[in-house]
Structure formats: structure tokens, C-alpha cells
């Protein structure tokens, strides 16, 4: 950097407002402004104030501006609010299996505004490129604002400003000057002042003729500490992109079923699912729920397995149990930073349909029973007496397709349609029939065999959120550091009092970063105790 020499002999980096050594406002700057420089950064040279020509300087200056930072905060604020006007895509309250359904939801429920909202991508606002860019800009601003200020500030505060030039003291907001009585013992007075200030908790730096009393310097670091906390927090969020650090999957597991957890070598089995409701005797107050119920617990009894053959592609899974236990809301199942959360449930879903096969030409006598597992219908069932039932076609979620032919909307048995064929003994012609929505339609008008619908097997399907976020400890740590920084910065103040003897005058100045009332009180106390001939001329409380 270019150097400028102060009259005290110290060379200051260009851009310095107050001499680093004696505190005198540098002439060059004084010509341009009429008032004493801001004490906020001790008048030190800051990169953003000094270098302005090159592109990199301009970028640095832009990001180091608090005004810009506030602007970014406000834009983030408004953008976040926009995302709550209509529900974000993950929070759409009705099933929307395809993108077309999503688009239709916004247009149908909210009209033209909804259509515009969807078109602009606001339904996924918080993961949109521009929102993430705003967050990155906020993070950048945090880093650059802090570096720009904390480095010179640290340099300044580490070298306590002792023996300051008179113009420095005169420029302070709290200033007093007085003529000493003849024969006053300066050393004694200085000692008394030091003692009085020490009693108030100040740390004293002194020479023969001058002292600096300082307390609460650590509180100046508060804002920088909390910024570090925020930066750690944001790093934690960014760490999700590291492979193996973050996982967010959802599995639906039927009772009795074991499913693989994607992206992991783990499998989970739903042994049993149970929703418990509060009984009337458990309610603290008599309630008229109008037929409604209040759930007490959602619990899945689960078993977690690891597939020992996970590393060998193409081999059959060799499952080894690693953990078992209940998964309840607020108490996930945990294993090696993998967490399974009780998230959703579909209760009383169709699991299997049960039918009695009857001989209609024999007084409707039951000749056998079949069970159709709607997740894995058997190709053929032998019900005894030489009668076989074959499954010809199965549509779990039946719908007539756009081409007029039968199709299935999803692979969940929400609306099962079964086409069956019953072959009797002695190889008589197979009779075809169809089951759909509670009725059985036979192909022939007077077939021999019929089906009587029995109670279906109902199962519960539990929805488990499987998550892993190894960055969470860093995120909590960042939040903790943030709180420490905020408390340090807001609860304490950095106060300094200078007392200097110059020939027959005594000079006193004081500075604090906040709570001037408090500093003024202490200085008044000091003057009273030491009987120094000082009357404070406090400037306007700007």
C-alpha cells in the first residue's frame, strides 16, 4: 500500500482516517470533511474505502456495504413471503401424481393468479435458482462485510490507543478539558483516576502523563462472531452436496412387507402398524368431538436390516438384522446416522380380496375359497376338487384409458379389477369373469361357477421418511456460535476513557459503541471521585 506519514512519525496505510499511532485525524481527510471521522472502525483503513478502481475492488466494495446487505435481507424477506401466498408443491393437500396434475391444481384452485404463480415457478420458490443465488449473495456479503471490517478493527484494538494526540481527544463525543490548580500533583491525580476507574471494572494502560481505561473490548467481536456462526450454518447447508452427507427418501411399507431403502444397503420391515386414539376417559375435559377422534400415537414396529451382499451387484439380498423397535412421531429409529421417521400412514387399505367359489348349478354350494393378494396376485390357485382359478388380467387402479381399453392409473390397489378364469374338473370349458368395484360380472349368462365376495384383508401401509444429514451437528454449532455472538454484542458495551495531562491542562475523553447514558454516568462518577476540574461538553447524541 501507499504510505502516508503522520506528524508523529508513524506511516499510515492509504485510506486511514485517524493515525494508527497517535489518533490524529489525517490532514488529507480533514480537507474533505468537516467533522471528526466515525470511530466505528477506529479510523482504520478499510479495503472497501481505499481501493475502488479495479473490478475486483468494485465487487468487494459492493459486497462489503451494509446498505447492500440490508437490501439483500429485504429482498429475501419479500421473496420468502411470496412463497407462502399459495402452497408450495410439497405441501399441496391433494394427490398430484403428475406434473400436469400440479399445474392443474394451481390453475383450478386459485384461478389466473395460480396459473401465473405456477408459470413463474413460484411453487418451488425456495429451491429456485434465483432464491439460492440470493442466499449465496447473503453468505458472500457476510464473509466480505466481516473481513473488510474485522481485520482493521482487530489491528486497531490490539494496540490500545494510548498517548493520543489532542485532536483525537477533542474529536470524541464525550470530551472535557480543564485547567489544573497550581501545584497539582499530576502523577497522583493520574493514579487516583486509574484507581477510580479500576474500581469500575476498567483495565488501565498508562504512561507518566496519560492513561487509557478500557472495558468490554470483547463485545466488539460480537457481530463478527455471530456472522461466523451464520457462515458455519450456511456451510452446513452446503455440505449436503457432499456425497454421503445427505439423504432424504420416503418409503411406504405394508404390514408384513420388507422394502429396500433406496441409495442405501438397508432394508426396513413393517412388522405392525398401529394408530391409537385418545379414549374418553383419558381426556382431561369432556369434549364434543362430533364423531371425530384425536390420535394419541402413530407407531410402526419396525426392523432394520442391512444387506450383506450390497456390494455385490446382481446377487440376492442377504439380510442381517441390525435394529428393531418402535418408530413413533418425535422418536425416530436411528442407526449410524440414518434416521427413520414416522411420517404418514394409509390405514385400512385393500390388501387382498377374498372370494368364495360357488357351484351355481348345485344350489350355490361353496366349492372353495380364493385369496387374491392385490400386490402379488397368484397366477393360478387350486381350490380343491380339481377346480383351478387362473388370473388372466389384473389392474390395480382400474380406469378406461384414452384408447378405450382397460388400463391402470397407478400400481396401488385403489380400484382393483381382476379378470379370472375358472376351470372345473373334467376339463370343461373355462368360465371367464371379472371383478370390479364390488361386483362380479360373468361372461356367460348362466355359468356354472360364481364368486361370492367376502370381507377383504385390510392392511395398514406406513410411510417412513428416511433421512440422513451429517451436517446437522455443524448447523447446530453454527446456531450456537450465532447466539453467543448476538449476546456478546448486544448485552455488553466497549467503553474507553482517556485521561491526559498536557502542561497545566487535564484532558478527558470517552467513547463507547452503545449506551452513552451508562458511560456518561461512569465518567461523572470519576470526575466526582477524583475532583478533577472538568466539565463535560457532550455533543449531540447523534
Amino acid at each position: 500500500m501507499d504510505q502516508r506519514k503522520c506528524e508523529c512519525g508513524h506511516t499510515n496505510p492509504i485510506g486511514t482516517l485517524l493515525c494508527e499511532s497517535c489518533g490524529k485525524p489525517l490532514d488529507v481527510i480533514l480537507e474533505e470533511q468537516t467533522q471528526f471521522p466515525d470511530m466505528r472502525y477506529e479510523g482504520m483503513a478499510r479495503r472497501s474505502q481505499t481501493y475502488t478502481r479495479k473490478v475486483i475492488d468494485r465487487v468487494w466494495n459492493w459486497f462489503s456495504s451494509v446498505k447492500i446487505a440490508i437490501g439483500i435481507i429485504v429482498v429475501l424477506l419479500i421473496a420468502s413471503a411470496v412463497g407462502t401466498v399459495f402452497p408450495q408443491q410439497p405441501y399441496i393437500p391433494v394427490p398430484v401424481p403428475t406434473e400436469a396434475d400440479v399445474a392443474r391444481f394451481y390453475t383450478e384452485t386459485y384461478g389466473k393468479l395460480g396459473m401465473v404463480y405456477y408459470g413463474l415457478g413460484f411453487h418451488n420458490l425456495y429451491s429456485s435458482w434465483w432464491f439460492v443465488t440470493l442466499l449465496v449473495m447473503l453468505g458472500t456479503s457476510l464473509v466480505i462485510c466481516s473481513l473488510d471490517r474485522v481485520i482493521p478493527l482487530y489491528k486497531a484494538l490490539s494496540n490500545p490507543r494510548l498517548n493520543q494526540h489532542k485532536s483525537f481527544l477533542k474529536g470524541q463525543k464525550l470530551y472535557a478539558e480543564g485547567l489544573l490548580p497550581a501545584g497539582a500533583n499530576q502523577a497522583e491525580l493520574l493514579g487516583a483516576a486509574a484507581q477510580a476507574l479500576r474500581k469500575k471494572g476498567y483495565r488501565i494502560f498508562s504512561t507518566e502523563r496519560a492513561l487509557l481505561a478500557e472495558k468490554g473490548r470483547f463485545s466488539r467481536w460480537g457481530p463478527y462472531i455471530n456472522h461466523i456462526g451464520l457462515i458455519l450454518f450456511l456451510i452446513g447447508v452446503l455440505m449436503r452436496n457432499i456425497p454421503g452427507f445427505f439423504m432424504d427418501e420416503y418409503v411406504w411399507v405394508r404390514e408384513g412387507q420388507t422394502v429396500a431403502i433406496p441409495e442405501t444397503p438397508y432394508y426396513v420391515k413393517n412388522v405392525n402398524y398401529h394408530t391409537e386414539y385418545w379414549s374418553e376417559s383419558e381426556m382431561p375435559e369432556k369434549l364434543d368431538l362430533k364423531g371425530g377422534v384425536i390420535p394419541k400415537s402413530f407407531q410402526t414396529d419396525a426392523v432394520l436390516y442391512v444387506n450383506k451382499n450390497a456390494d455385490l451387484p446382481g446377487t440376492k439380498p442377504d439380510l442381517f438384522e441390525v435394529k428393531s423397535g418402535p418408530i413413533v412421531v418425535n422418536h425416530p429409529l436411528e442407526h449410524e446416522s440414518l434416521y427413520l421417521y414416522q411420517s404418514g400412514v394409509q390405514e385400512m387399505q385393500l390388501g387382498a380380496l377374498n372370494f368364495d367359489v360357488i357351484d351355481q348349478k348345485n344350489g350355490d354350494k361353496m366349492v372353495g375359497q380364493i385369496k387374491m393378494d392385490l400386490y402379488n396376485p397368484p397366477k393360478e390357485q387350486d381350490i380343491g376338487n380339481g377346480i383351478k382359478v387362473r388370473t388372466l388380467d389384473y389392474f390395480p387402479d382400474f380406469v378406461i384409458g384414452s384408447d378405450g381399453r382397460p388400463a391402470t392409473k397407478t400400481n396401488l390397489p385403489r380400484n382393483p379389477m381382476l379378470a379370472l378364469e375358472i376351470v372345473g374338473e373334467n376339463g370343461a370349458a373355462a368360465e371367464k369373469m371379472v371383478y370390479l368395484q364390488g361386483s362380479v360380472i360373468t361372461q356367460k349368462a348362466n355359468s356354472q361357477y360364481g364368486l361370492v365376495i367376502r370381507k377383504p384383508d385390510l392392511i395398514d401401509i406406513t410411510g417412513l421418511n428416511v433421512r440422513m444429514d451429517k451436517a446437522v451437528p455443524l448447523i447446530y454449532f453454527g446456531a450456537f456460535i450465532f447466539m453467543v455472538g448476538v449476546v456478546i454484542g448486544l448485552l455488553w458495551q466497549h467503553r474507553r476513557v482517556w485521561v491526559q495531562f498536557q502542561e497545566d491542562h487535564v484532558l478527558l475523553a470517552g467513547h463507547t459503541n452503545k449506551n452513552w447514558f451508562g458511560l456518561r454516568r461512569e465518567v461523572d462518577g470519576l470526575i466526582e471521585q477524583t475532583k478533577l476540574p472538568l466539565a463535560i461538553e457532550e455533543r449531540t447524541k447523534a
Binding site: A69, T84, P87, Y91, E282, M283, P284, E285, N330, V486
Partner: protein
């Protein structure tokens, strides 16, 4: 259950005491210049009575919290009614602490009525003690919610002091942008009062209007149906393209514009219209009776206070409220969300609006500490900040449905 009945009584007693205290605080400030009184003595006397009434009310409400907690088996912070009552409790607590430090009677004249409004708002909601649903069964219920409420209560006191600063310093001799905006703030307060009054009245009267939308849309089970919407307040505006199923006390004057599709859009518009109407009427009546701007009307009560002291109180409250709010509403919330849902942040409306409140007060602190925004600018920020908190409480819980919303529960 005895304890719960006792808790209800204790809350009613607290409400009554807060109302009396509010009235006496206002009397303490406005009756100073009545004939034949020594202003200082008058203010001190009535101020002291009002203060002690508030303290007893606070103790009664503490009793409500304790008995409801024991009787209900869980922290009384689990639904909209409980939360608003607890927020009011925190506002009064924050006031008592600030009063201890600054000993200004006039603060009570603003904070107590605010507390009364909050508690009255809570009465709009169903108050039965219900057992906890699974997601609320956690010790975080009383850690997260109470800390967040305390933070908001302290920020509310910051708002009251900021409002007082504006009433004190905005010159009322000519009509300026500032006087007009101040009137807007006071009118919005009246609209909130109006909303609470109308909602409570009509809820009690049970004069609902029910509409059925003419168009079918898929419901939560995927089936097509014609959705129904129920208005508590008489229908000024009907939903677009709907038919009345149950007639209410009045026929709709007009239909919502066609672009406001959706069954709830018109209902919210209707509620908003009623609130605005009542607020405007209240404002109009007050303007007519007193023949001056409300800001000018209230001005005398704050005239003797040093504005810098009000600025200091507002900033002090916010500088204490901000860390408490961050801790309770953001950090504890994130930890609980991680434990319950496996993600500490999901961008759901309540989380987003808590973030908005947090960002706003961060901006406040930066503007004040780095850009020198003190005095009137800071006061306006503290007022806007509280409006944002109110949006979080009212709009997010009632207007925007979500995982987090308490409405009606």
C-alpha cells in the same frame, strides 16, 4: 375437571383485571388535566393502582397457566387459544420487567390495552383442553413455544414504545405523510379490534351462511366433489360461481371477482371487508366525536416524555427480544423439527414467516447500529416489525393452511 374449571376462571379474572388496569392507566394519563387535580399526583396515584391491578392479573394468569398445565397434562401452548393467551401473558411479563427498569406510567397505557386485545383475540378460538396429538408430544412443546412467545412479547413492548415515540414526535399541527401513516397504523389497530369484536359476536350468534361451489374439484381422497365453504360473518361478498345452501342474516351484495377462484378466497375477502368496515366505522366515529386526528388526540398523554427515552426503551426491548426470539422461534424450532420430521427447515409457511420476522429485525439492528437509523426511522421499523409478527399469528395460522397451522384446533 376441577382444575380446568379453575383455570378458566383464573383467566377470566386476569382478563377483567387487565381491562380495569388499562382503563385506569388511560385515566391516569388523560385525567391529569381535569379541574382541581395535581397532574403528577393524579398520574402517580392512578398509575400505581393500575400497575398493581396488572400485577394481580398477571398472578391470576400465572395461576391459569399452572392449573391448566396440571389439569390438562401438557403445557398450555398447544393450540391457537392457548398460544394467544400465553403470548398475552408474555407481553404483560415483558411490560412488568420494562416497568421495573424505567418506571414510566405511560408505558402501561399502551401495553395493557395491547395485552387486552391479544387476550380478547384468543377468546375467539375454541378453548377446550384437548389431549396432545402425536406430533406435539415432546418436551419441545414447552421449550420452543414458550421461548418464542416470550421473544414476541418483548418485541411487542418494543412496538408499543415505538408507537409512543411516533405519537410523541410526529408534529400534528399540519397534515403530513407521517401523520397520515400514523393514522393508518391506529386505524389498523382499530380494524384488529373490530375483527375480534365481530368474530366473537357472530360466532356466538351462530348466523352462518353456507355456500357450495358449482364446480367440482378433487378432494383429499382424490374424489370429485363440490366444495363447501362456511362464513361466520354475514356474507357481503359471495364466492364466484357458488350457490347458497344455508341462508345467513344477509344476502351477499356482490360476488367475488372471477379471478378470485377458490372457495376460501371469498370467505377471507369477506372477513377482511368486515374488519376494514368496522375499523373504518370505529375510526370515523372517534374522529367525529373528538374532531381531530387520533394521533393528535393521543399526543397529550405522551407529551411529557423525553422522546429519546422512548427510543431507548424501544431499542432496549428489541435488543433483548431479538435474541430470545431467535433462540425460541428459530433455533429451538429447528431442533424440534429435526427431531419430529427429520428436517430442521422445510420452508412451510410458519417457518418462512418466522424467518421473515427474524430477517426484518436483523435489518432493524443493522440499520440502527451501522446506518445510524435512530429516532423516528427506528420507531417506524419497530411498528412494521410487530405488524409482521401479527401477520405470522393471524394470517399464517388462519389464512394459510399447513402442517404447522393451528386454526380451529
Amino acid at each position: 375437571m376441577q382444575l380446568i374449571q379453575l383455570s378458566d376462571w383464573l383467566l377470566d379474572i386476569a382478563f377483567l383485571l387487565y381491562v380495569l388496569s388499562s382503563i385506569l392507566f388511560v385515566v391516569a394519563m388523560t385525567g391529569k388535566n381535569w379541574a382541581g387535580r395535581d397532574p403528577k399526583q393524579h398520574e402517580r396515584r392512578y398509575g400505581r393502582i393500575a400497575f398493581w391491578l396488572a400485577v394481580i392479573g398477571f398472578l391470576a394468569q400465572t395461576g391459569y397457566v399452572v392449573t391448566r398445565w396440571i389439569g390438562g397434562g401438557h403445557s398450555p401452548t398447544s393450540n391457537m387459544f392457548e398460544f394467544m393467551a400465553f403470548l398475552d401473558y408474555c407481553i404483560i411479563l415483558a411490560y412488568l420487567i420494562i416497568y421495573r427498569i424505567y418506571k414510566l406510567t405511560v408505558i402501561g397505557a399502551f401495553v395493557l390495552p395491547l395485552g387486552v386485545i391479544m387476550l380478547a383475540y384468543s377468546y375467539v378460538f375454541p378453548a377446550e383442553v384437548t389431549p396432545l396429538i402425536p406430533s406435539l408430544q415432546s418436551y419441545w412443546l414447552y421449550i420452543h413455544v414458550t421461548t418464542a412467545a416470550l421473544g414476541e412479547g418483548i418485541l411487542a413492548v418494543g412496538f408499543a414504545a415505538g408507537l409512543m415515540y411516533l405519537l410523541r414526535t410526529v408534529p400534528q399541527d399540519v397534515s403530513t405523510k407521517s401523520t397520515k401513516w400514523l393514522e393508518v397504523v391506529l386505524a389498523v389497530v382499530l380494524m384488529l379490534v373490530g375483527f375480534i369484536g365481530m368474530e366473537s359476536t357472530f360466532a356466538r350468534m351462530d348466523q352462518k351462511t353456507v355456500f357450495e361451489m358449482n364446480k367440482e374439484i378433487p378432494n383429499a381422497l382424490g374424489q370429485m366433489e363440490k366444495p363447501r365453504v362456511q362464513y361466520t360473518m354475514p356474507a357481503i361478498v359471495a364466492p364466484a360461481d357458488a350457490t347458497i345452501i344455508k341462508q345467513g342474516p344477509m344476502s351477499p351484495l356482490f360476488s367475488a371477482p372471477a379471478w378470485m377462484e377458490g372457495k376460501d378466497a371469498a370467505r377471507k375477502l369477506n372477513t377482511m371487508l368486515w374488519s376494514i368496515l368496522t375499523g373504518v366505522v370505529l375510526y370515523g366515529v372517534l374522529r367525529l366525536v373528538f374532531r381531530k386526528r387520533l394521533g393528535a388526540l393521543i399526543r397529550p398523554t405522551v407529551d411529557e416524555i423525553d422522546p429519546e427515552l422512548l427510543d431507548e426503551i424501544s431499542y432496549r426491548a428489541i435488543s433483548i427480544g431479538y435474541p430470545v426470539f431467535t433462540l425460541g422461534a428459530i433455533i429451538f424450532a429447528m431442533i424440534w423439527a429435526q427431531e419430529a420430521w427429520g428436517r430442521f427447515w422445510g420452508w412451510d409457511p410458519k417457518e418462512v414467516w418466522a424467518l421473515i420476522v427474524w430477517l426484518f429485525y436483523s435489518a432493524y439492528l443493522h440499520l440502527r447500529l451501522s446506518r445510524g437509523w435512530i429516532g423516528a426511522k427506528s420507531a417506524w421499523m419497530s411498528v412494521i416489525g410487530f405488524v409482521i409478527i401479527l401477520i405470522t399469528l393471524v394470517v399464517v395460522n388462519l389464512v394459510i393452511a399447513g402442517l404447522h397451522s393451528y386454526a380451529g384446533v
